[in-house]
Symmetry: C2
């Protein structure tokens, strides 16, 4: 039995096995990238399910349209306008089963073997692996705190020419660094991209999780040519288990995604789409998002306090202004995979930074989630990890 | 913006547009392939959702594991043993978002550009298109009422040699013909396949919908080498909107699917997996299936009566012994796409047979669903279609 060529070297299996250890019950795990389940607005969600099951049960248990439930698409379009000042219509949207499916379908839509995808570095490997499955060559572009480097990007675009089929970016509080692109950088990026006929895949998973006063305008808002494919989701600001996300793009591009959606799973789960629409129509998602932002900000602050107190000065880190992650850098030559082994032995988990580089990885970085553990666990876990790190750096 | 090569000639758009007409409210549509929503056991489904939302809400709204909810996989394994006498374990199963996703991932797993997929003819184009998206070459194998032709299959296997990467079959009441392979043919097929190291993709969507006394053993039950990849689903015997299906296969193959599942959508909807597990644990799916089989058999009988009375003798058809479809053949030279245009003008829809041949199509066949319309609609719709067919054949 012969697997397709793409299955070769697909995954860092050793790391996967290690990460499974992080799932053990007694581990304080800073490795996930989830919202905190205790924040779910359970009563409102229950009421929405009950309503759907009482009044729309037959429709909710039958196939949804491939495009997705019409009322949900309308509500998402309204929300994009209200939240991000981006005009959007219901027929410029297709519902996907999580953002991951949007990324997978983007590979299917744009990538032939050997094509090039440009991306920020470090970046979300789940997206990059999905694109690599279509035998894309992944080429990283130097990135600083304001976003992807414009000169570096221009150079890559010109060097690789027509081989570049996609630019994948996460401008808002990206996974893993929580970096948020500045407005100037967004404008400069779109000005440059407008000179090329290449789609921009904008992963907006964390865009609502901001601790700043104002939300940044998404790249879609600076898109004059209709070249941005915007991937939104309710997984980070609401509940990931519903698997409700969407692509917003130019109508003719959406039509292509629809063909693929019919191949990859026909349609997304009907009942969760209707539940989500009912929730948006009758409850206050903005209030929920405010609540979790306040909580996550408190947890970030607490984590930064513990880190300042417990970690050696050689460890560098940012102050996340949104998102779910703290990104820490050990001195050169140190290896966070080695640190993880020691941490797991003492019941603490995180994700080594090498997991966010598809090619040659920097090994001295790590991603620490601050949204998902309680205050007590943050203090206990980060105190332990601080001590383990001190000991490791002393060797 | 350049799409991947696979997007060329992907769909018969003209037919898609035509089929959208079939969705209009006042059309009597025999075009769907769904169970009848009035049969859903709504009270039991509601109770299961209520239970999950009361007692497992946080888990049900968080990410499921990539493999799928453990209790659901156990129950599916038990059910495969109880229904089909096929030993199966929970870790030989991965939950998929509908069978369509299992088919899509099979393309991703096995197909490189130019590889060959062998299949029965006619067959389910949704599967074949999903495989074609991975740039497979689709090669049909002559099939008779007992199943795929063994000599023809052997010839194809030997002609194409190592280029053949997959054999896709639907042995039970297949879409579109409702043909069910005989036991002898199943054994002969697996005997032949055992001589090759090629995976068999067994699509078992309709396997429980049998009007016969005994269920046939699936190919998986005759599999000595672990080469069968079995795709089961709750979409046809229960509710398609839940999007719950599964792959059962050898453990090492399941591990490969798991890697891909993490790329295509991370995990399936958590709440519907838990609802399905609770339903299977506390209610009687067998009793539900018996009930819908009785109903569909009555509708099949009624449809055959109307057809015998209203259709001209030149129109040939089988007597479906299970599944959801009646397959009808007009005299050579007639075109069921032309017939569909006339039928739509009088408010009746079906699927022209050409939609089930990926290559050179026979154009004089059609698929008529008998599960989804009420008795009154069957009489009215098939009487109309009989008259329209008579008029068309007289020309």
């Amino acid at each position: 039995m012969k697997y397709a060529d793409r299955m070769k070297n697909m995954e860092d299996k050793a790391l996967l096995a290690l990460m499974e250890l992080a799932e053990a019950k007694d581990v304080i795990s800073f490795s996930g990238g989830f919202p905190s389940p205790e924040t779910y607005p359970l009563e409102d969600i229950r009421e929405s399910f009950y309503h759907v099951l009482e009044h729309e049960a037959k429709e909710a248990l039958s196939y949804s349209s491939t495009r997705g439930f019409a009322r949900l698409r309308e509500l998402i379009a309204e929300r994009m306008e209200q939240q991000f000042r981006v005009p959007c219509e219901a027929d410029e949207i297709v519902i996907t089963s999580g953002s991951q499916q949007a990324l997978d379908m983007s590979g299917l839509l744009f990538i032939d073997k050997g094509d090039i995808v440009l991306f920020e570095t470090p970046s979300y490997l789940g997206a990059l692996n999905a694109l690599k499955a279509y035998e894309a060559e992944l080429v990283e572009v130097e990135t600083d705190d304001d976003g992807i480097g414009i000169d570096a990007l221009k150079q890559a675009l010109d060097t690789y020419g027509e081989r570049v089929k996609l630019v994948y970016v996460i401008p808002d509080f990206q996974n893993p660094t929580s970096r948020c692109w500045s407005q100037d950088r967004r404008i400069a990026f779109m000005d440059l991209m407008a000179q090329y006929d290449i789609p921009v895949l904008e992963d907006a998973a964390y865009s609502e999780l901001t601790f700043k006063e104002e939300k940044e305008t998404p790249l879609l808002g600076y898109d004059r040519k209709g070249q941005v494919i915007y991937c939104g989701t309710f997984s980070k600001n609401f509940c990931p288990g519903l698997r409700i996300a969407w692509i917003a793009a130019r109508k003719d591009i959406i039509e292509q995604y629809l063909v693929l959606k019919s191949f990859v799973d026909l349609s997304s789960t009907a009942i969760t789409q209707r539940q989500m629409a009912y929730y948006l129509d009758h409850y206050d998602l903005d209030a929920h998002v405010s609540k979790i932002i306040t909580l996550y900000k408190e947890r970030r602050d607490l984590m930064l306090q513990v880190v300042a107190r417990e970690f050696p000065k050689e460890v560098k880190y940012n102050k996340p202004m949104g998102g779910l992650f703290l990104w820490m850098t050990l001195p050169e030559g140190k290896d966070t995979k080695e640190l993880l082994l020691r941490a797991l032995a003492e019941g603490v988990a995180f994700v080594p930074g090498g997991s966010f580089y598809p090619g040659a990885a920097k090994n001295n970085e790590m991603r620490i989630n601050f949204s998902n553990m309680t205050e007590a666990e943050i203090v206990e876990g980060m105190t332990r990890l601080g001590r383990i790190t001190r000991d490791y750096l002393l060797e």
